[in-house]
Symmetry: C2
Subunit: 107 residues, 2 copies
Amino acid sequence: MFIFREQTQIEDLGNGVTRRILAHGGGMMAVEVTFEKDAVGPLHHHPHEQLTYVLSGRFAFTIDGETHEVSAGDTLYKKPDVVHGCVCLEPGVLLDTFTPQREDFLS
Amino acid sequence: MFIFREQTQIEDLGNGVTRRILAHGGGMMAVEVTFEKDAVGPLHHHPHEQLTYVLSGRFAFTIDGETHEVSAGDTLYKKPDVVHGCVCLEPGVLLDTFTPQREDFLS
């Protein structure tokens, strides 16, 4: 499956955060999430495994109570149900990949 | 798990292709693959599901006999065992995410 960027839709999640669902199928899904400065990804958890690749910007990221600043090229692995969240320090974009798919994002 | 880019290792795969294994754990792995112009990712297949995000450059990508040009922000989903490969048209970098992990990359 080929998904061309210009064919994807921007969803406004409010509070300075937008999302694009990218390629997905079988048990995997790729999602781009764009943050304005100071926008927050509140602490949350879900049963999906997740990898996050920082495409741009700078973020303070918390996983299971551990917080670090991350920037372009840094990556994060989140095991199922681990509590995680972020604060955007400089405007940027995260690429999240999930397994299984986030069916809640498709409904 | 936090993986900072400067802590990752570049592996030279030869023929103009290098690889960095990024965050991985549980059933997921992120891998950056850098191509020089005209470098080739030969047609191959594996039982892992795979998402590819084009970070930069331009590639002619073939999945299951279908070929398209892709560039930054385009994404590709590859189901298990599907035959896929690419030719690099302009130097660039792909982010591959696999489930399960590519144990063959870790050995």
